[in-house]
Amino acid sequence: MKNKFGKTNFIGVLITTLILVIIVVVSSVNAGSSSVFNQVVSALFTPIQNGFAHIGYSMSGNPNISDVDKLKQENEQLKKENEELKNGQRELEVIKKENDTLKEYQNLKDKFSVFTTVPGMVIERSYSNYDKILVINVGAADGIKENMAVACGQGLVGHVIAVNEHTAKVQTIADTANTISANISTSNQSILVKGTIGVTQELKATSIPAEATVMQGDTLTTSGLGGIYPKGILIGTIKEIVNTKNQTDRYATIIPSVNFNTVNTILVITSSTTENKQE
C-alpha cells in the first residue's frame, strides 16, 4: 500500500515538474526567445544522438586492436596539449573581458564627457517582481551619494537611492515609484515619465500638454528639472499614444533605451563639469 502511494507521489511530482518546465519554456518562446526551448530539446536528445553516432562509428570499420596502445599514448599527449591550450585560452578570455570592460568604460566616459562620472558594474538585481532595483559595485568610498543619476551607453538607468561603503542601490526609471521630467525631442515640451509595474519594463508618459504634438517614434530626453537627472540624457522612444476623451488625460507608452535586465556597465554622474567650473 505504502509502495503504491510512494509511486503515485513520484509520478505526481514528475508530472508537476514537467508542467512547470513546459510553462516556463512556452512562456519564454512566446516572449520571443526560443533559446531555452532549444536548450531543453538539445539536452534531451544529445545522449540519444551520441548513442546513434557511436553505433554508426563502430560499424563503419575503425582502427585495429594492435594500434590501440599507440592511440592511447597519442590520446594522452593530445589531452595534455589540449589542457595547456585551454588554460592559455582561459587567460586570454580574462584579458579580453577586462579589455572590453575598460573600452566600454572609456566609450561611456567619452559619451558623458560633460559630466564627472564614476564607472561601475551591476552586481545584483532585485528578486521581486514588483521592484526594479539594481545594486552596483561603487559606493560611498568612491564618492557616490544619494540622488546621483546613473546612466549607461544606451541612456538613462536611474538614480541612487541608498549608499553603502562599497555598493549602492539604484532605483531604475522603470521602477513604479520613479517619476522623471522629460522633454519630447520634436516639440521640446516637458512631460512626466513614470515607471510601471509590468515585466515588460515599459514606461508611461503623462501630463502631456494639450497643445503638444506627440508622434510615435519621438525620443524623450531628461529635462533637467527636479534636481536629480541632468538635462539631455536619452530616456527612450514613444511606442504608442493612447488618446482619451479628455485631452489632458492622454498618455503614451515608452520603450526605454536601456534594457534593465541586461545592463552591466554603468556610470554614476557625480556632477556636471559646468557645476565644477562654478564651484
Partner: protein
Amino acid sequence: MKKFKSILIIILLFIIIYFLQCNFFSWFNIAGIMPNLYVVLVLFVGLFIGKKIGVVSGIIIGLILDALFGRDVGITSILLGAVGLAAEFLDRRYSKDSRITIVIMAIAATVFFEVAKYAICYFMHGIELEIMEFIRILLIENLFNSLLIIIVYAGMKKLGYYLEDGFKTKKFATRYF
C-alpha cells in the same frame, strides 16, 4: 546541538534560495515572473518550528533583503515576520501533512505579503495603482510557488519534522492516560 544544526539548515536554505532568486529564476521564469521563495521559507520555518523562530527568521531575512534590495528598510522585515507569526496560527488549525493545505497556506501567505507590500508602497511613494497588472503578476507568482511546493513537498516535510524535533518539546495528551 540539534537546535544549532537546525539553525544552520535554515541559514543554508536561505543561501540556496538567495542564489535561486538572484540567478536561476532570472532565466527560469514564467513570462518574466519569478516565484517568491522567501515567503515560502518563512512560512515553512513558522509551521514546523514555531512562531518564535518563524518571526525571528522572518525579521532577519526581511532585514537582509531590505538592506540588499529594498526601497525602504523594515517593510519586508515586518511583513515576513508577520508571515512567520501567522504560520503557527495556521499550524494549530490545519494539518501540514497535506500537500494541498501547504499549497493553500503558501498562496495565502504570498497574497498577504505582496498585497500588503504593494499597499504600503502606494501610500509611501504615491505610486499609480495598476490593479490588473498586479493581479496578473500575483497569479503567476502563486502558480509558480505552488508548483515548486508540490515538487519539493516530500523533502520539505521530512526536513520540517527533523527541524520540529529539535525545537518543539513533545506534549502528551494526559487526559488519555
